[in-house]
Structures are given as structure tokens and as C-alpha cells.
Symmetry: C2
Subunit: 293 residues, 2 copies
């Protein structure tokens, strides 16, 4: 036996505010069991209380309303559970992120770490397999993981092909608009011929595409040669701004900045310290050197 309740009563039973309930009605997330045609009064059934409780918990976990709607509309229990597990996994990663940020903030306010050394380096044109896309700031880490998985798949078929550590190019928009071109690449152990078709000027942002492999989005490209100021960052990616700040400030104060994307090289973690977050990342800033080679 399910009784009908006014919106105010339903609010007290569910701990959802009246304004929230009207909003959920408007967007179709939780429609009242009945609506009086003349007065517009909403009537909720006591049988709707459990759904409202579930919605409240999802909102407490900051799940967006359209995602909640998708979860509740899931065709079967399996699909529903997948959606929930996915959200919980994302939440856990966010919690880890928060812990890392707190530690990082403490370190920063306690004076920051030692200034990492900066070196200059000339890199020649480089042949590589690559995946590229327009990538958003928050999805970058996941995108990179999938990209290297694809690249490793292609490399697996060409044994001994790897010519260096994983790397990526980042266009200016990626930093300035938090969405922009990213190229994930794995260098190949071959010399690109100087007269190769598709050779590009040093400093060009886009690598020259030589061919697209049969493996979907993976391409063979030539990365442009470049003069770089380089530093190594040890620690989680969230702290990379430290390296960028030190490197960019050094370049601005002592050298001439040049056009072109910023490069990162993902080196193996320090041997023996298998902790997560112990990554070593090389950050490379394009410069123009006075002393020509």
C-alpha cells in the first residue's frame, strides 16, 4: 500500500530539498507519481522513497545528474553495476590525487625541494610510431595510457624496434586552454633518411606523417629536430609544474625561447623504489641557441 505525499512531506522523508525535487522533476530524473492537472501540485508515492535515497547518495558522491539518470535507466543489473563501479574507481583515483596534492602543498610551503639541474641538448630528427589527438587536461593521463598500449601493440609485431623511451609532444593550447593537441610517440631504432619524403622543418609543431599503419590510429612519423633545454622531474605528474616553472623561468631569464611543442620523455622509475608516483619525467623546452652547431 503506497500513500501519496506532498512535495514537502516527500522532502522530509528523503532529505532532498524541495528545490532539488522540483529540479529533478524538471529534468526527468525523478518524476512525481502524480501531478494535479489544475493546480500543478506534485504527489509522490511512498514507494518512490528508495529511489530518492539512492539518488541522494549518488549526489553525495558528486555524480552528475545525467550520469545518475543513466545508471537508473540501465537495462540490467550488470550494466548498472558497471556504471557504479566505474564511478567508484574514478572517485578512488581522485582520493589518491587529493592525498598527493596535500603532500605536495606541504612540501611547497616548507620551501620546496632542491632546484633540479638544467642541461641543453640538440636532438636530431627522429622516426617514431605515434598516436595523436585533441586531448583535455583531465583526461590526459588515461589517454596516454591507452595510446602507449596501442603503440606497444604495434611494436610487439616489429621486435627490437624501440629506439628510446616513451615520449609525448604538447601543443601550447594544451596548457593555455587545458585542451589541445597531444602526440604520444615511441621512437624507432632506425635513422630517418635526410631526403625522406615528409621531412619537416625543425620547430614545426606537427610531426610529418610518413604512413598510417593498419592498426587504426597509429602512424609512422618523423619528429622534427630541436634544440632543447631539459630537466628531469621525479615524482607524480601533478607536480610537473615545478619542473615547468624552473625550466621556463630559466629559459626566459637566460636563453631565447623557440617555437614548437614541449616534449616529455617518460623514463623508467628509479630502480628499487617501486612506489607509485616515483616516475621520472624529462621535460624538454624548445630554445634557440646563439652558438650554432
Amino acid at each position: 500500500m503506497s500513500a501519496l505525499l506532498t512535495i514537502g512531506e516527500f522532502s522530509r522523508l528523503t532529505h532532498l530539498s524541495v528545490k532539488a525535487l522540483r529540479h529533478y522533476d524538471a529534468i526527468g530524473l525523478l518524476r512525481p507519481a502524480e501531478v494535479d492537472g489544475a493546480s500543478g501540485y506534485r504527489r509522490y508515492a511512498t514507494a518512490q522513497v528508495p529511489v530518492a535515497h539512492v539518488i541522494r547518495r549518488f549526489r553525495d558522491l558528486d555524480m552528475p545528474l545525467d550520469e545518475i539518470q543513466a545508471v537508473l535507466a540501465a537495462p540490467d543489473v550488470d550494466a548498472r553495476d558497471r556504471a557504479i563501479v566505474g564511478h567508484l574507481a574514478r572517485m578512488e583515483r581522485m582520493l589518491e590525487q587529493t592525498q598527493a596534492t596535500v603532500a605536495s602543498l606541504r612540501a611547497l610551503l616548507d620551501g620546496g625541494g632542491p632546484v633540479p639541474p638544467i642541461e641543453y641538448r640538440s636532438v636530431p630528427r627522429l622516426r617514431a610510431v605515434a598516436v595523436r589527438d585533441r586531448v583535455g587536461w583531465d583526461e590526459a593521463e588515461g589517454w596516454l595510457e591507452r595510446a602507449y598500449a596501442d603503440l606497444d601493440g604495434v611494436l610487439g609485431e616489429t621486435s627490437g624496434a624501440r629506439g628510446g623511451p616513451d615520449g609525448a609532444l604538447y601543443g601550447a593550447d594544451f596548457f593555455e586552454r587545458h585542451v589541445g593537441a597531444v602526440v604520444a610517440f615511441v621512437p624507432l631504432a632506425v635513422e630517418p633518411g635526410a631526403a625522406e619524403p615528409g621531412a619537416v622543418e625543425p620547430g614545426a609543431v606537427e610531426p610529418a606523417v610518413l604512413e598510417s599503419t593498419a592498426r587504426g590510429r597509429v602512424e609512422v612519423v618523423d619528429l622534427p629536430a630541436a634544440e632543447l633545454a631539459v630537466t628531469v622531474h621525479e615524482g607524480p605528474f601533478g607536480d610537473l609544474d615545478q619542473a615547468y616553472g624552473a625550466l621556463g623561468a630559466h629559459v626566459a631569464e637566460h636563453v631565447l625561447a623557440a617555437e614548437g611543442p614541449i616534449r616529455e620523455h617518460y623514463l623508467e622509475a628509479v630502480a628499487g623504489s617501486g612506489e607509485p608516483g616515483a616516475q621520472r619525467t624529462e621535460v624538454c623546452w624548445p630554445i634557440r641557441r646563439i652558438s650554432a652547431s
Copy 2:
């Protein structure tokens, strides 16, 4: 030696988007070192990079911009550290909350717990010391803690005065608008005289104030008599909606609801289980009974 950078360069060094930097300038959180009078071009100094990094971390921790501004403007290191520690403490409580919500959601989706028994109870008019205020939903737990601390302070001076467990009255607005009248009270071990001045009708929302003590906001009041449907909730406060749903639905389906605030009584935790979140809370719903006393 500090060089000047365009907003785009500064964005790459700090990993703050250009739009965010312009916003921080507009609200005065992070002003560029120079602004060209004619063109409006912003110039940031490399020396501003560390502040920007700190701001970025606070934002990653979801600290509101005005709070960040307050922290950065703190007169001394102590005041700054207090603000930071306060925010971190709040974040930790939020993390705990999240864990609890995840567990609660799992339980809910797995079919929910057993239905708690509901009993009817007549409570007489009751003399108590009380603190009242307009309280927001999210600050309620902290407010209650402070209120009972104040009430205990007053009771400490009147030994043997306590006449029952801590309790509170909640007006409808507290649930329906997530901000409303709350009265925290501790019953006294005395009988309120029937002819007492300030006696109020049963069902009235506001307790009758008999006197205000010298201790600031603490008052001596008479709580109105009431007919109640009662159930006991075991577990964290975030799960109280379960008890409200079961109780409110029962009342709507089987009895007549009455005017008046909802009461909660905070019983001691189950003996032996000293875990946090093992609270026992009595939830009391005002009803009108057909069978008169």
C-alpha cells in the same frame, strides 16, 4: 633576476589556463607584475611562478578563491598555517564521509537492511536547557557538537540535573530548504508544573522560553508534549534518511501526521562497539492518534 612573461608563457610555466589567469587578475587574487596601459597586455614576472603553483594546488583541493585569497593575505605564517590546517581537516572529514557514503550505497543497492520496528509513544511536557538557531544542513553536525558542549557546561554547574539523553527539534524548513530552525536540548530532571508560566500547547513548534541563563545563548525551556511514532536508527547520521523514509512512510500509510517539529534523541552507542559511526539515534515523528489517552 626576474624576467617578464606574456600570459601565454606564464600559463605554460604554471599550468594555469589563460582564462583562469585572467579571472584571477579580475578578482585580484593574482595580479600581473605589469599591465601595458595602451594595449592592456598582462606581463607576469618569473618571480610570480611560486605563488601561482600554490594557488593551483589549493584549487586542486577545491578551496574557494576567496579563501585562497585570505590564506595568501594572512598576516603571519601562523595565521596562514591555521587556515591551511583547517581546510585540510575539513577535507579529511569529507574523505571519511565519502567512504561512508560508498558503503551505504552498496548496502542500499544490495537490498537494504532489515526494517526497524516502529513504536508509538506519548511524551509529556518536558523542561530542558536548550540552544536554538537557524542552521544550515551542512553545518548541522558541527553546530550540534558546539551546542551540547555549551549545554554540558551549564549542566556541570547544576549537578544531577540531566533528565535524559541529548535531543534536538528540527523544523520543516531544515529538511525542505536545507536551512532552518534547530533546537538542541538536554532534558532536566525536574517536573514542569502544569500551571507554569510559558506553558505551550502540544504541537507547537517553538518551545516556551522560561528564562535565559547567564551563559550566553543557553535557555531554560519547556518542550511541548507530543504523540510520536518512534524508531531507532543505528549507524552514521548520513544514513538517517533510511529511518526517516521508513517512519514517514509508515505514518503516511497507517496513521495521521501531526504538526510540529521532528525530534531526534542521541542515545549512547551500543556497549562494546566503540567504532565511530555506531551511533544510536531515536527519530520521533509527530502523529495524531485516534484513540485519545
